[in-house]
């Protein structure tokens, strides 16, 4: 029994010691040049002489670091004693990444915007990727589908020898399993946890640095930033727009985006009156139909996303739930659906919130002219 006690204490001590080590923050050097990020709150990038350090804050535990990366330009890695070798608890990535396994279609699309699609050698869930280039390359054999993104085939990843794996982190997912053990740097794409649409988009600067497309990324973001603000300003001048109801029922529940969610914020930026605008949730609310009918039944327009192999008609929509005909927007026919199977909504909007805002502006302020044609939503 006593031996067991001693063993227990020893184990606890070791555990404590290793915990302490994991959180130590390396001393800040003086010569670091912090890149000014305008919106992103979870990301910081500091440029040093010959390398940069990117730190991702843990979105779920605000005081902790999710991952720290040292970005070392190729050529430097041969140098015997570069200062970057002193960075502790960091994952070293040699830039530009030449061979990447990209497990999210959003980032595949972003790399294509950068003109870096040639560096993609592996993807996951290729069924759901809507980029023709990727499918072409899979057919040719130069891109490999590594299976399900949450549970990829490790042997396939090892076979394609990527410099890095880009994937989306989940809260309490218990790590990435075997993928972590094969000594390939994992880039945790946590931008979807950013609170505002522009903060999310700003992460493209990080990806630009990873893939040697820094200027391109900075210039695309400059466009996103300025056109987003220009559109927001137009919305402000136009005054209050139409009132809007979002999404539709899943089974017996209507998941409504919270007022502080990305889409909730964009509706406000577009000048729409949204019944849940004052709600402080950044996720979604699960509501009963009667609650939605009570608060949003009189909304002028109704926007929802759906997934189908063909465009939905009003009749199909009515068949889904009988209560829909109680909604004013349904009766007046002001219903817009975004078929995520056929439009590039999920691929484009995370990094191009300006395109979505333009769309919302056009729907919520029908009087506005010279806006681009609708790209994601279609009137039913």
């Amino acid at each position: 029994m006593r031996n067991l006690n001693i063993l227990f204490i020893a184990v606890m001590l070791v555990a404590l010691a290793s915990c302490g080590g994991g959180n130590s923050v390396s001393a800040d050097r003086e010569d670091g040049d912090t890149l000014q990020l305008k919106y992103a709150t979870l990301l910081s990038i500091v440029d040093y002489d010959g390398y940069s350090v990117a730190t991702i804050r843990n979105p779920w535990k605000p005081d902790m670091t999710l991952h720290k990366y040292v970005l070392v330009p190729r050529g430097e890695e041969k140098a015997e004693r570069g200062a970057w070798r002193d960075e502790r608890d960091a994952t070293v990535i040699y830039t530009p990444i030449q061979r990447a396994a990209v497990f999210t279609t959003v980032h595949c699309a972003l790399l294509q915007d950068f003109g870096c699609e040639g560096s993609i050698v592996g993807v996951a869930d290729s069924k759901y990727i809507k980029i023709p280039y990727i499918h072409e390359q899979i057919r040719k054999g130069s891109i490999v589908d590594c299976g399900n993104g949450l549970n990829p085939v490790v042997e396939k990843i090892m076979d394609i020898k990527p410099d890095a794996i880009l994937l989306s982190p989940f809260e309490n997912s218990g790590g990435y399993g075997k993928v972590e053990d094969i000594n390939i740097p994992i880039v945790e794409c946590a931008e979807y946890m950013e609170k505002s649409p522009l903060a999310r988009a700003e992460w493209m600067k990080f990806y630009g640095r990873l893939f040697g497309a820094q200027e391109k990324a900075d210039s695309i973001f400059a466009v996103v930033d300025s056109s987003y603000h220009a559109l927001k300003e137009r919305a402000r001048q136009a005054g209050e727009g139409r009132s809007v109801l979002m999404d539709k029922m899943v089974g017996n529940v209507w998941y409504v985006p919270g007022g502080q969610s990305t889409i909730g914020q964009m509706l406000q930026d577009a000048g729409g009156r949204y019944p849940w605008a004052n709600d402080d949730q950044s996720g979604s609310l699960s509501l009963a139909f009667e609650t939605v009918l009570e608060r949003g039944g009189e909304c002028d327009v109704w926007l929802f996303r759906y997934s189908s192999d063909h465009d939905m008609t009003l009749r199909e929509l009515a068949a889904e739930h009988r209560g829909y005909d109680q909604l004013k927007a349904f009766r007046t026919g002001a219903v817009y659906g975004c078929n995520v199977e056929q439009s590039l909504f999920y691929e484009e909007t995370p990094f191009r919130p300006d395109l979505l805002l333009a769309e919302l502006l056009q729907i919520l302020h029908p009087e506005m002219t010279n806006l681009p044609p609708l790209r994601y939503y279609k009137k039913l």
Partner: protein, 338 residues
């Protein structure tokens, strides 16, 4: 008056009270006076959306809860008696899993629509049809095996195995499905009494009532079965035929409720035990009506609990039923051990 009759009257009263509570209480507050005038058809000056909520949402939901609760509970009772297993329930034969597989095929593989020849349905109707077809297919399979396998226990095991096969197909479909598909399937699997709109109420109610009447007709042979197969045969009961009828009635009831409400957990397993604890009898003449009423009461109670958070949302049904169901099962097991 016998104890059984008294309890049946009390349960019927409780059912009536809970039925009213289901109409009055919901996610949004509608004054009781307005609810009453809507129900009386004298709804002038009441908001039209409220009329819709009471007549087209709360009323069918409460009726569904009564029918579904009674149907599942009585199925559980019959199976527990026939298989002499206190843990038998409507989900045990894989009928639920069959319905689940049908729904998974439609939601996850076919993208939410179902085409047979030139007829194509999508959304709710497709899910409904798939669940019903899946459940009936498993039932037909069990029926087929029941002609080969004589032993009750072996038939039970076959049912469980069929359930496993269906579930493995479901996991496979889930693994390769989209986020939205998995989410819709998850939500369906959490059960809800809100699936029957007034448009389908007539069909749902008539099939369910037919099944309930069918079970009442089986009351006598079930009492005979309690004595054991030999005695029952001596009493002139045709065991094989009773078993077939029983499978048919429980299969039909489970299929129709699962198709409309999703796989509702625990009511079928737990409510017969609650009724037995109340009545302390095994005589189906009292036990069966009491079980039906008790099932309706429990279902109505669960349905009220689901909307308790009010404006801030709803709780899924299957998160509520086990809270009432599981402690009962534990109690039964502990009592059996004594």
């Amino acid at each position: 008056m016998s104890k059984g009759t008294i309890y049946c009257v009390l349960l019927a009263l409780a059912m009536a009270v809970l039925f009213v509570l289901n109409l009055v209480k919901g996610s949004i507050d509608i004054p009781v006076g307005d609810v009453v005038s809507i129900l009386m058809g004298d709804a002038e000056g009441v908001k039209p959306s409220w009329q819709y909520i009471v007549m087209e949402s709360r009323l069918p939901q409460a009726l569904t809860a009564i029918l579904c609760g009674a149907a599942l509970a009585v199925s559980g009772l019959m199976l527990q008696t026939a298989f002499r297993n206190p843990l038998a329930g409507p989900s045990i034969f894989g009928i639920n899993s069959g319905a689940g597989l049908g729904v998974a095929l439609v939601m996850l593989l076919l993208g939410g629509s179902l085409s047979v020849g030139s007829v194509s349905v999508s959304g709710f109707v497709a899910v409904l049809a798939a669940a019903f077809v899946g459940a009936m297919a498993v039932m037909a399979l069990i029926f087929f095996f029941s002609t080969i396998v004589r032993s009750h226990v072996m038939l039970l095991i076959i049912g469980i195995m069929i359930g496993y096969i269906a579930n493995s197909a479901i996991s496979l479909l889930n693994f390769f499905a989209t986020d939205e598909g998995v989410k819709s399937y998850m939500v369906w699997g959490m059960g809800s009494f809100g699936g029957v709109s007034m448009k389908y109420m007539a069909a749902f109610a008539s099939i369910t009532v037919l099944g309930l009447v069918g079970s009442l007709l089986l009351m006598k042979p079930l009492n005979a079965l309690l004595l054991g197969d030999r005695y029952a045969e001596n009493l002139g009961v045709n065991i094989q035929r009773v078993r077939n009828w029983l499978l048919f009635v429980t299969g039909l009831l489970t299929a129709i409720t699962t198709a409309f409400c999703g796989p509702v957990a625990f009511i079928g397993l737990a409510v017969p035990h609650i009724a037995r604890l109340l009545l302390t009898t095994d005589n189906h003449r009292y036990l069966m009506p009491a079980t039906m009423l008790c099932g309706a009461v429990v279902a109505l109670l669960c349905n009220v609990i689901c909307v308790l958070p009010g404006e801030s949302g709803v709780i899924p049904l299957n998160a509520v039923t086990p809270i009432i169901g599981a402690p009962v099962i534990i109690y039964v097991i502990i009592r059996e051990r004594r």
